[in-house]
């Protein structure tokens, strides 16, 4: 069920009709970015592999995660698996954590090693993704770093996806926002005026990429979670060349270097996941000193823009599941959480209500989770019989359960996601809770509500009609 590396997954996508090859040579701009946008526009769009990019040696693949079909195949499920079933399967596998990674002495990512005259363009076919990006960005990296205070603590090692702007043949900028785990590592290093070593893995097993963009607790291992989501099959890791950092053995490319302490230089703008460009800011820089890669490496990168695009599949169910688990721990009444909208800036909670005000209180719990605190801005709470992944049902709950004067709550002066263009100053926001649950005691229910239930034998008729329909 699990894939050992990106190449094995691309082979599966091709067998399932979910990968197309562009054999003719293309110019880097605007074609690769445009194809990434176009593939995401198609329903169940495919991954796109560019075999020849003008002026470059290697291939590029984009939109690898960019459809629910590809997402299901990543999970080892049939490509037509409904989203809600993928959510429940992720929940089931989540509980297998931790599945300790297997540490091996070498792997395909070590086939070629470069330590002199580093030139990223020799290895990676870099390109501008969106027109007004400040340069060429690496948008799908798994960045590995360790806590300088606990350098031997494997669980505090972080694997995260952060945007990277190429600023030279061996120099890149990286965005480490204050609430990102890597920013904790960086702060400790900068307090001592020491560089922070990083290893940047590109083109890895799709589950590792998925976990690198999943909000888990600080001392949980993304790799050991990946083993769980691989159905209990551990990931294989090798040591980086220059530091005590673990990288996927099957990675296409690993860039190694260090964040230069206490330096910030101009970075951006960049077309970001909320569908608008980020501002130009002073951000960190990394000097790359070592590259290892497979023979003929494939550069995997993603398009991001107005949702939905490939990045949304990498922050949909993997945002929903951890928030669900964290809420469920405190409130077993919670049935499901759909936090698929713009990395959980919007979220829907389905819950039973044990007493009056319960729905609103559950929403506040979500706002106090590590991810919900900075990200989530708009929360809708619905009754337990409403499927939060069915937006028609959610809208029905709002239109028939919500009394705005008491059920819409605004909480001012809270943390906010700075890339949300309505956050001002960037990083601050007002939270909104829409409680669309039915009032329970001691909250007065001003009018009785009797749900219209399905007539008897509806389920039988549904089955019969489906058979008649497919037989015609």
């Amino acid at each position: 069920m699990a894939y050992k590396d990106l190449r094995e997954f691309l082979q599966k996508l091709e067998e399932e009709g979910q990968l197309v090859r562009v054999k003719d040579e293309v110019m880097p701009e605007p074609h690769i970015g445009a194809a990434g946008r176009a593939a995401a526009n198609l329903k169940n769009g495919p991954a796109v592999l560019f075999e020849k990019v003008a002026g470059y040696k290697n291939q590029v693949v984009t939109n690898v995660h960019g459809s629910w079909a590809n997402h299901a195949l990543m999970m080892g499920m049939p490509k037509d698996t409904p989203v809600v079933e993928q959510f429940h399967e992720l929940n089931r596998r989540w509980d297998m954590y931790p599945v300790p990674a297997k540490h091996v002495s070498t792997g395909p990512c070590k086939e070629v090693k470069i330590t002199e005259n580093i030139n990223l363009f020799e290895v990676l076919p870099l390109y501008r993704i969106n027109t007004w990006d400040g340069g060429f960005f690496i948008s799908k990296a798994s960045v590995v770093s360790r806590d300088p205070e606990f350098p031997d603590d494997y669980n505090k090692q972080n694997v995260g996806t952060y945007r990277i702007q190429v600023k030279g043949k061996d120099r890149i900028g990286i965005q480490a926002l204050a609430f990102h785990d890597i920013a904790i590592h960086l702060r400790k290093a900068e307090e001592m005026n020491k560089p922070l070593r990083v290893a940047i893995a590109l083109g890895v097993d799709p589950i590792i990429t998925f976990m690198a963009s999943t909000p888990i607790m600080y001392d949980q291992s993304e790799y050991d979670f990946a083993g769980a989501l691989r159905g209990g099959e551990p990931v294989e890791l090798v040591k980086a060349e220059t530091a005590n950092l673990d990288v996927p053995a099957g990675a296409e490319v690993v860039l190694e270097g260090e964040i230069i302490p206490r330096l910030r230089t101009c970075e951006g703008p960049f077309g970001e996941f909320p569908g608008s460009y980020s501002g130009v800011r002073a951000q960190c820089e990394i000097k790359i000193d070592t590259i290892t890669h497979r023979e003929n490496p494939i550069f995997e990168n993603l398009y991001l823009g107005m949702p939905w695009s490939e990045i949304d599949y990498l922050m949909a169910l993997n945002t929903s599941v951890p928030l669900y688990k964290q809420l469920k721990e405190s409130f077993p009444e919670v049935q499901a959480v759909n936090a698929m909208y713009t990395h959980g800036i919007g979220a829907i909670i389905s819950t039973k209500c044990r007493f009056g005000g319960f729905g609103k209180a559950v929403a506040m719990r979500l706002l106090s989770t590590p991810h919900g605190m900075p990200y989530t801005k708009a929360i809708i709470v619905v009754d337990e019989y409403v499927d939060p992944f069915n937006l028609e049902q959610v809208m029905w709950a709002i239109t028939t359960r919500c009394k705005p004067d008491k059920d819409v709550t605004l909480i001012e002066n809270c943390p906010g996601m700075p890339l949300d263009p309505s956050s001002y100053p960037p990083g601050m926001h007002t939270k909104m809770i829409i409680d669309a649950t039915t009032p329970v005691d001691p909250e007065p229910q001003l009018r009785t509500v009797e749900l219209v239930e399905d007539p008897p034998k509806t389920a039988e008729w549904e089955k019969l009609l489906r058979e008649l329909w497919t037989a015609k």
Binding site: E29, G134, G135, R187, E267
Partner: protein
């Protein structure tokens, strides 16, 4: 040559295409804008670069710093 985005003269060749003589990428060492000479004039030509995205010295000197640089800790 000047930077299409901030009009700085601190511009240099970042890299020539590794295969063939197909393109050149330039970098501005003031605002770190980079561009490929094969891109459209709206990207490569300072006069045609959109005013909405232009930068100047005042903007560059007042950028928000992310993440903030912490105070140095005294070494034990």
């Amino acid at each position: 040559m000047i930077c299409p985005r901030c009009d700085s003269k601190e511009v240099e060749v970042m890299v020539e295409s590794p295969v063939g003589n197909v393109w050149t990428v330039y970098i501005c060492n003031d605002c770190y804008f980079s561009w490929r000479n094969t891109e459209g004039e709206e990207i490569t030509n300072p006069e045609k670069y959109s005013k909405k995205w232009k930068l100047n010295r005042e903007i560059l000197d007042n950028l928000q710093v992310i993440p903030p640089i912490p105070p140095l800790k005294e070494q034990a």
